[in-house]
Amino acid sequence: MSIDLGLPQRPLTKKDFTSDQEVRWCPGCGDYVILAAVQAFLPELGVPREQVVFVSGIGCSSRFPYYVETYGMHSIHGRAPAIATGLATSRPDLQVYVVTGDGDALSIGGNHLIHAIRRNVNLTILLFNNQIYGLTKGQYSPTSRVGQVTKSTPLGSVDTPFNPLSLALGAEATFVARVMESDRPLLMDVLRAAHEHQGTALIEIYQNCPIFNDGAFDLIKDRSQQQARLVRLQAGEEVVVGAEGERKVLVRKAHGGVEFVDEAAVDRSAAPGAPGSVVVHDPTNPDPSDAFAISRLDGPEMAHVPVGIFRRVSRPTYDDQVREQVASALHAAGGASGDAELDQLLRGPDTWTVP
């Protein structure tokens, strides 16, 4: 249903993807950084902007669509994945992005998120995780760490947070990644990979909320701490962390799971897969067990936080298959239905005639 008005084609720029709406986030909000990165990324897709749609829920992050000069819908709290599923399924020509927050996606919208993921709908989901409800002024979210003192938890929250990536992997995800808002090169890489991916790509973006949860990610932002904590996953490479000389390498544990050990202590002669043997990151592994194990590395203390693409496997998408069933029914019937076919349908098998 893409409409070609024969407009002249010229390479698009970031400016082409910037709408005329005033951006209304707080000064210093991490959302600005993400917006700029996405606007810078979109031109490189080579997709005309009318074929891009951003669907969001409600939250600070969900104001995103207003600022991008594409089609967009700022919907209601938590429901963007469902709305986007309807859109993506009926319009294969569109690139559908979902923009959501940790509250929007994981609290009220948790069910739609996991169902979109298991169905593997052609969607790229950008989950801005600031570990807080920003728009409603600072209540704890399903990703807030235990003990977090917020407006609604004066004595500290008691619920174990979700690990959004573990949850997605448990929900049969085919593409799962994490990025820091400030890491534009990685964000661009991941967006590119997500664009190429067929199915649902979940990208968790750590985003700082300077007003209600400032510094949530300082441990991995701060240059001095970052190296010891941030784990950059690279397909086909060993999983390492730490500065030169203090490097740790990810190895398998004896009883399932993975852990970091000092590089010096690594036994490189261990058979691949043996406890102590080095984990070579393979996001395309059909078995999600390794990706899951890696997702367990991070915790509230942020000892080790993996970023990059955890999983990227191929599986038929929901929308493709839904359309395929319709197409094959049409094909089997010899093409689109006209008045005659409709007439036959209305009559059904059992008519009689009154003269």
Binding site: M1, S2, I3, D4, L5, L7, S19, Q21, R49, E50, Q51, V53, F54, P65, Y66, E69, Y71, G72, M73, H74, S75, I76, R79, A82, I83, T85, G86, L87, T89, S90, R91, D93, L94, N111, H112, H115, V322, R323, Q325, V326, A329, L330, A332, A333, A336, S337, D339, E341, L342, D343, L345, L346, R347, G348, D350, T351, W352, T353, V354, P355
Partner: protein, 622 residues
């Protein structure tokens, strides 16, 4: 044809009743089909428990199917059966109260065992203890005769043979009412192609039933009901759910839009999903969502993309969809929401009918959130209602709520199949060009500019170059659609949305007042059409004057409605709720509309309404 004497009847009401597993719905459906073919007018009422198959032989497990057919225009499935087919003691016990003295009971005597009798609290066998003396009872050993008739079919177990007893009953009743059995034979052949033994057993049982009637001395004569005069045309029998599904497909066809149904199963709406999921050949996409919220969300997403987004549900599901319908009101996108009403509140009576979602449909959202509301009045009318809903949704870019109910959904009647060319033209035009200019004179797109006539905003699809825009549920500035917190703008937008709904073109309400001298107007909406019309007919037949009118559009109301209401001394409004439409009309027109309400999960009885009318007539003339 039978060789026994034939008596001609004008109308008959038959109720088939048995265990949930006895196949009563199928039996009723087949009898209905064969009756329809004979040209009788008819109306049906299936009735089954919320449990799939409650324990055998118990009262909660009874499932029934009632059919009213006649040589004249039939308006309801009938108040009381002339014939009850009771496949077991539970079926007898559960239905006897509805059976007028003198009516015929055909009971499967095989099932009247001590154990089965005890299960439903019979101390003695009613077929033998004289307690049924006021009725004409025919005990027939349906099960054992069926099994005997299949004695030669060795491929089946006894249990499997017994299962054919419903076909035996159908054969017997077909004989009794001079219905052909060949169409059912053809139907069975289609159904059991891959199971030849089962097919053979069913056909044999069917024929055995017919022959039993012909041969045994239990039944002295057969009955015939002549065809009803009907307008020329091609007819089929349809349930409301089928008619709705067909209407949606026809509307999609006429509008050129692909139909996308987002739905979550719920009784009594699920069949709409089932039917549409089988119509992929018509370009129909059905998405079974994770819940009702996602279902309407998917439909709305599809509408945003330019499809005909539809969602189907029942009352509890409508409650869940409220917030998203509110979003659709704010986005001003076409959306059709079908609510097949059932007994409430809460889970209520899932398989029973009710009209108690009208106020929910109108008011069940936060803020001023107006939508259009339509209610079909008979099963076949669901087809037209679907077309009308699509017309309004696409023309006015608004959610339209269709209020069907459990009775319409599962009840059936003959439907004169329209010619495609006679269906309304529903062509939709998408906006593909800028519709405004910026202050500096360059062309731009205003997603909330409005058509001056309809107040509809443009429907510009993603994929259209140059019209990129964003819409959302936050209040938006008139014309541009930008976020706006301006007080005056909000007031204007609230009133514009209301004015758009108020301005929808709906036909005037038509009053049926043959004598022109009636003082009392019987008003109704939705599925009470049949019972009210039947009661009015009966009352008129007794020589009284009474007028009748039926509302199809609940929002907006027809322009002439106020005049109609004040033209009568008294307006009586029967509803299967506690007076929901009455509330709206009293508020709007300050007319002392008199409610008659019953919330029993079943349609009104004609006799009950007849008495209500007579009471009002006597009050008014007194």
């Amino acid at each position: 044809m039978s060789s026994k004497p034939v008596q001609t009847l004008r109308r008959v009401v038959i109720r088939f009743a048995g265990d949930s597993g006895d196949g009563m719905q199928l039996t009723g459906d087949r009898f209905t089909s064969d009756t329809a073919r004979l040209g009788n007018d008819l109306s049906t009422l299936p009735n089954f428990p919320a449990e799939i198959r409650a324990p055998q032989g118990t009262l909660p497990g009874v499932s029934s199917f009632q059919l009213h057919f006649a040589d004249h225009d039939v308006l309801t499935p009938g108040d009381a059966p002339d014939v009850l087919v009771a496949m077991n003691p539970a079926a007898l016990r559960a239905n006897l109260a509805d059976l007028p003295r003198g009516a015929t009971i055909i009971a499967n005597s095989d099932e009247f065992t001590t154990r089965n009798l005890a299960k439903v609290g019979y101390q003695t066998n009613p077929l033998e203890d004289g307690s049924l003396d006021s009725w004409q009872v025919h005990p027939v050993a349906l099960t054992s005769i069926t099994v005997e008739a299949l004695a030669t079919t060795s491929a089946l177990t006894r249990k499997e043979k017994e299962r054919a007893k419903n076909m035996f009953a159908l054969g017997l009743l077909s004989w009794m009412y001079s219905r052909p059995i060949e169409p059912t034979e053809a139907f069975l052949a289609g159904k059991f192609t891959s199971k030849p033994e089962v097919l053979a057993a069913n056909v044999a049982a069917l024929r055995a039933g017919w022959n039993f009637g012909e041969t045994t001395e239990e039944f002295a004569s057969t009955y015939a009901v002549s065809p009803a005069p009907m307008a020329a045309g091609t007819y089929r029998n349809v349930t409301g759910n089928t008619a709705l599904a067909l209407g949606l497909v026809a509307a999609a066809h006429r509008s050129g839009l692909p139909l996308v149904l987002g739905s979550y199963p719920i009784t009594p709406a699920s069949d709409i999903l089932h039917t549409l999921s089988g119509l992929k050949r018509f370009g129909v996409t059905t998405l079974q969502a994770e819940d009702e919220i996602a279902a309407v969300g998917m439909a709305l997403g599809a509408s945003f993309g330019g499809a005909l987004g539809v969602t189907s549900t029942s009352g509890p599901g409508l409650a869940l969809k409220a917030e998203t319908i509110g979003l659709a009101v704010s986005l001003e996108l076409p959306l059709v929401v079908i609510d097949v009403q059932r007994g409430g509140p809460s889970t209520g009576l899932p398989t029973k009918t009710e009209q108690a979602d009208l106020l929910q449909a109108l008011h069940g959202r936060n803020g001023e959130s107006p939508v259009a509301v339509i209610a079909p009045q008979t099963p076949a009318d669901c087809f037209d209602a679907a077309l009308d809903a699509v017309r309004i949704a696409t023309t006015y870019r608004t959610p339209v709520l269709v209020l069907s109910d459990g009775y319409l959904a599962n009840g059936s009647e003959p439907w004169s199949v329209p010619a495609i060319a006679d269906l309304p033209e529903l062509t939709v035009e998408f906006t593909t060009e800028p519709n405004a200019v910026t202050p500096d004179g360059s062309p731009t797109f205003h997603p909330y500019a409005r058509d001056p006539l309809t107040l509809a905003r443009p429907w510009a699809l993603p994929g259209t170059p140059g019209l990129e825009h964003r819409i959302g549920g936050i209040e938006k500035a008139d014309l541009t659609g930008d976020i706006s917190y301006d007080p005056a703008n909000h007031d204007r937008m609230v009133r514009l949305r209301q004015a758009k709904i108020d301005g929808i073109t709906v036909p005037d309400i038509v009053v049926d007042d043959p004598s022109g001298s009636a003082k009392v107007l019987l008003l109704g909406w939705g599925s009470t059409y049949g019972p009210i019309a039947a009661a009015v007919r009966a009352v008129r037949a007794a020589g009284h004057h009474v007028a009748r009118a039926h509302l199809r559009h609940l929002a907006p109301l027809p322009a002439n409605l106020g005049g109609v209401l004040t033209a009568y001394e008294r307006v009586v409004l029967p509803e299967m709720n506690l007076g929901q439409l009455a509330l709206l009309l009293r508020a709007r027109y300050l007319v002392d509309v008199r409610s008659h309400t019953a919330v029993r999960g079943v349609p009104f009885a004609t006799t009950e309404l007849g008495e209500v009318i007579l009471t009002h007539l006597s009050e008014v003339s007194a």
